[in-house]
Symmetry: C2
Subunit: 152 residues, 2 copies
Amino acid sequence: MTALTDQEQVEQANTTFYEAMERGDLDALSGLWLEGEHDEISCVHPGWPVLTGRGDVLRSYALIMANTEYIQFFLTDVTVSVAEDTALVTCTENILSGGPAEESGELGPLVGQLVVATNVFRRTPEGWKLWSHHGSPVLTETDEEPDDETPA
Amino acid sequence: MTALTDQEQVEQANTTFYEAMERGDLDALSGLWLEGEHDEISCVHPGWPVLTGRGDVLRSYALIMANTEYIQFFLTDVTVSVAEDTALVTCTENILSGGPAEESGELGPLVGQLVVATNVFRRTPEGWKLWSHHGSPVLTETDEEPDDETPA
């Protein structure tokens, strides 16, 4: 059994973060965020202002989970860059989600959403922990060829 | 003359970044981004997909500058968190910008925009350099009291 490289450990931590969201597991999610008096965490949900500190960040996830019946993340374009004890992950979150059931008891309508995220992790004795998450909606066309849009 | 603290140095680097944008100074801006074979930089403009690597990132700024006649950033809510050789900055970019002049020669209409940014810096022998910039539009109401929205 070979030990995981830093890159692999970080990618695993990143995947674990999204899996906790999918399960609506606030305890697991809380444990993935950095904790310490000098470590001010920050979080930006798509379209939201900046949230700073464990209190506001974790409350926002409790609120989102309370209003989300179903959510699944298909991650693409995952890139990991490690420098000493900090790691930078960017990825595209292809999200499929649904709100709480209607009064009729049926699941709310499923909605697809394209979000890009920058996640910053720090190495700790308990593994890589989230220092910052910034997700934002992709509003422009993504034809993978931005050069085509350059004025001639 | 007292030396600047890490926090002060980082805040200064962050300010310098926005000043280079305001001046449309692509050379200065390029010099503020981390450079090195192992340092993969990433950048997300509001509503854009992720750009990775100096080539794509700097081309995007050239494109934005070519289409921006006037831009001014009023930074608020600037928070700086430093851990060893990495620093995390979050801020609100209150942007006032205008496109290129119309054919009549008049300046295009000025547009206000509310953007939040997470900027990650790394300490180098040449000062703090940008490793990542992620800006996103604020689409929800910012009443500073997210708790009010919590379901009873």
